[in-house]
C-alpha cells in the first residue's frame, strides 16, 4: 500500500458477513485515505456491494470493525452513518423519480429546522431562512454537476448519464466527507464517460474522499489513486492501480482466464 501523507480516514478491519453458508465478506481489511480515490475492484460476486452495505449500515456485520476517524460505524443505522459523514450512491441509482432534480438535491442539503415539526410551526422565520439557504446551496451543487438547466425536471425524465450525475450531486450536497460510489461508470458510453470520470476527480479536488466500485479494468487507473482487489470476500491485493492491473495472477482471477 502506498503510504499517504495522512492516516486513514476510514479503516476496515477483519470485517466478515455470511449469508447462510455463503461467506460474502471474510476477514476484509483495508484503509481509505483522505483526499484520494480508492477503487474497489474484483470479479462478480467478490463482495464489493456487500462491503458498501456493511459500511453504510444496510447490513450488519458478523464480526470486525469499520472506523471512521476512530468512530465505530458497525452497529449504526444507515441514517446515523450518513450523519457521521459517509454517503453512498446505489448501483440502481434509487433517485426519487417523481420529484424534481432540485428536490432530489435539496434532500441532501441540511434542513434540520424544516424537518422538525416543532420548528415548522413555532420557528417559521428560521425555517424560511434555512430553506432559502438550502435552495441556494442546491443550485450551486447543480451548477457544479452541470445540471442547472434540469433543476425543474422530474428526475425520471433525465437521460441516464444525467441521472448518474444527479445520484452523485445529491450526496455531494450532504457535506459528508466520504463518498461511496457504486459503479459510477456502469452503463455509460464513451462520450458520457468523458463527463463522469473527470467529475469523480473533481469531487476529490473539493475535499471529498471517494471509495468507488469499478468493473472496468481499463478505467481503474484513470479513476483511482489506490486499488483494493477483492476476491471471494477477501482482500487479495491493495496498492497502486498500475501494480494491480499488471499483476497477471489478479487479471486471471478477474477475467477468469
Amino acid at each position: 500500500m502506498t503510504a499517504g501523507p495522512a492516516g486513514p480516514i476510514m479503516a476496515l478491519e477483519g470485517v466478515a458477513r455470511a449469508f447462510g453458508g455463503i461467506r460474502a465478506v471474510e476477514d476484509c481489511s483495508f484503509d481509505v485515505r483522505p483526499g484520494l480515490i480508492t477503487g474497489l475492484i474484483g470479479p462478480n460476486g467478490a463482495g464489493k456491494t456487500t462491503v458498501f452495505n456493511l459500511i453504510t449500515g444496510f447490513l450488519s456485520a458478523d464480526q470486525g470493525s469499520i472506523r471512521l476517524q476512530g468512530r465505530e460505524l458497525l452497529g449504526l443505522a444507515p441514517h446515523e452513518v450518513e450523519r457521521l459523514g459517509v454517503v453512498r450512491t446505489f448501483q440502481h441509482l434509487r433517485l426519487w423519480g417523481k420529484m424534481t432534480v432540485l428536490e432530489n438535491v435539496l434532500l441532501g442539503c441540511a434542513t434540520p429546522a424544516g424537518e422538525s415539526v416543532f420548528s415548522l410551526f413555532l420557528r417559521a422565520g428560521a425555517v424560511r431562512a434555512e430553506e432559502a439557504r438550502a435552495r441556494e446551496r442546491a443550485m450551486e451543487v447543480l451548477n457544479f454537476f452541470g445540471l442547472t438547466g434540469h433543476a425543474g425536471d422530474f428526475a425520471e425524465d433525465l437521460a441516464y448519464p444525467e441521472q448518474k450525475l444527479l445520484s452523485m450531486a445529491r450526496i455531494f450536497a450532504t457535506d459528508a466527507p466520504v463518498m461511496l460510489l457504486d459503479e459510477p461508470t456502469s452503463g455509460l458510453d464513451g462520450e458520457s464517460l468523458q463527463r463522469i470520470v473527470p467529475m469523480v476527480r473533481r469531487l476529490v479536488d473539493h475535499g471529498k474522499t471517494v471509495l468507488l466500485i469499478e468493473h472496468n479494468m481499463e478505467l481503474i487507473s484513470e479513476l483511482s489513486d489506490q486499488v483494493v482487489f477483492l476476491h471471494q470476500g477477501r482482500v487479495l491485493a491493495a496498492g497502486a492501480p498500475a501494480e494491480i492491473t499488471r499483476d497477471p495472477a489478479l487479471t486471471e482471477i478477474y477475467f477468469g482466464v
Partner: protein, 292 residues
C-alpha cells in the same frame, strides 16, 4: 331545510378533517391505515368522557382527544412502522378491531351499545354553540385549521422527506433521514387530527355509540381520500363533499319507497366504480398519473 343543509355541511367539515388527516398517511407517506375510524372513535369517546366525567368541556376534551389519539397511534406505529412495507395495514386493521371491541364491551366506561348521551355542546367565551349554522362555522374553522396544518407539513422540508420515504425508503435512509421516526411522527399527527374530528362529532351529535366507528367507516374515509385524489391537498375535501352529497341527492330521486334504500345503495356503489374507472387518480388527481 336550512337545518338539513347545515347538518350536511357540518358532516362534510368533519369528514374533510378525517380525510385530510388520513391523506397525510395514504397520500403523502404511502402508509395505508385501516384504523382511522378507530382513531375517530377514540377521539369521540375521549372527548365525551372527559367532558362528562371530568367536566373539562369541549376544548379540554378536544385537547385530551388529540393526545389520546396520538398515543394510541404511537402504540401501534412504534412496533409496526419499524418494519418496511405493508405491515402497517395489518397492524392498523388490528387496532380498528380491538378499539371497536373496547367501545362495545368496556361498558363501565363507554356504556357499550347503548352509547353515551348528554355530551355537552361546545362553548366559546361563554356562548353555547348549539344552532346548526353556528356549528357549520365551528366545523369549517377546524377543517381550515386542519388544511393549514397539512399544508404546512407537506409544503416543507418535512414534506419533502415524507415524499422521499414514500417513493424510496432505502434512498431516504442513505441520505440521513430517520425513516422510522418520521413515519411515527406523521402517524401521530394524523391521528391527533383524526381524533379532533371525533371530538367535534361527539359534541355536535351529543350522543355517540360504537356503530359510528366501525371498520366500514375506516374504509369510507379511505374512499374519500382515494376518490378525491390523494396527490393534492384539496382532493380529500372534494372527496368528502362529493361522497356525502351523492346519497343526499339520491334521496330526491323518485324511487318507490319499497325499493328506495337498496336502489340508492346500488346506484351509490355503481357511481363509485364509474368514478374510479373514469378518473383512477381521483377527482383532483394529476393527469400525469393517468398517462402511465
Amino acid at each position: 331545510m336550512t337545518a338539513y343543509l347545515a347538518h350536511f355541511l357540518v358532516m362534510v367539515g368533519i369528514y374533510a378533517i378525517l380525510a385530510l388527516s388520513l391523506n397525510l398517511l395514504i397520500g403523502y407517506s404511502g402508509i395505508f391505515s385501516l384504523a382511522h375510524a378507530a382513531i375517530y372513535g377514540i377521539g369521540a369517546y375521549a372527548s365525551a368522557l372527559a367532558a362528562l366525567k371530568l367536566g373539562v368541556g369541549f376544548w379540554g376534551g378536544m385537547a385530551i382527544a388529540a393526545g389520546v389519539g396520538a398515543f394510541a397511534s404511537a402504540l401501534v406505529a412504534i412496533p409496526s412502522l419499524r418494519v418496511a412495507g405493508d405491515y402497517y395495514v395489518v397492524a392498523s386493521f388490528g387496532l380498528q378491531v380491538v378499539m371497536l371491541a373496547v367501545f362495545m364491551n368496556w361498558t363501565d366506561l363507554t356504556n357499550g351499545h347503548a352509547g353515551l348521551p348528554g355530551i355537552p355542546r361546545p362553548k366559546l367565551f361563554g356562548w353555547v354553540i348549539d344552532q346548526p349554522f353556528e356549528y357549520v362555522f365551528l366545523a369549517a374553522a377546524f377543517a381550515v385549521l386542519t388544511w393549514a396544518i397539512c399544508r404546512r407539513l407537506t409544503h416543507s422540508a418535512f414534506g419533502r422527506v415524507l415524499q422521499a420515504i414514500r417513493d424510496d425508503e432505502i434512498a431516504a435512509q442513505a441520505m440521513g433521514k430517520n425513516v422510522v421516526l418520521v413515519k411515527i411522527v406523521i402517524a401521530c399527527i394524523s391521528s391527533a387530527l383524526g381524533a379532533m374530528a371525533g371530538s367535534l362529532y361527539a359534541h355536535y351529535i351529543t350522543y355517540i355509540n360504537p356503530s359510528s366507528f366501525a371498520l366500514h367507516e375506516s374504509i369510507f374515509i379511505a374512499t374519500l381520500v382515494i376518490l378525491g385524489g390523494s396527490e393534492r391537498l384539496a382532493g380529500p375535501i372534494v372527496g368528502a363533499f362529493v361522497l356525502l352529497a351523492i346519497p343526499e341527492a339520491l334521496k330526491f330521486l323518485a324511487i318507490p319507497d319499497t325499493v328506495a334504500a337498496p336502489m340508492r345503495q346500488i346506484i351509490y356503489g355503481a357511481l363509485l366504480i364509474i368514478f374510479m374507472l373514469v378518473r383512477p387518480e381521483g377527482i383532483l388527481g394529476r393527469a400525469r398519473a393517468r398517462a402511465q
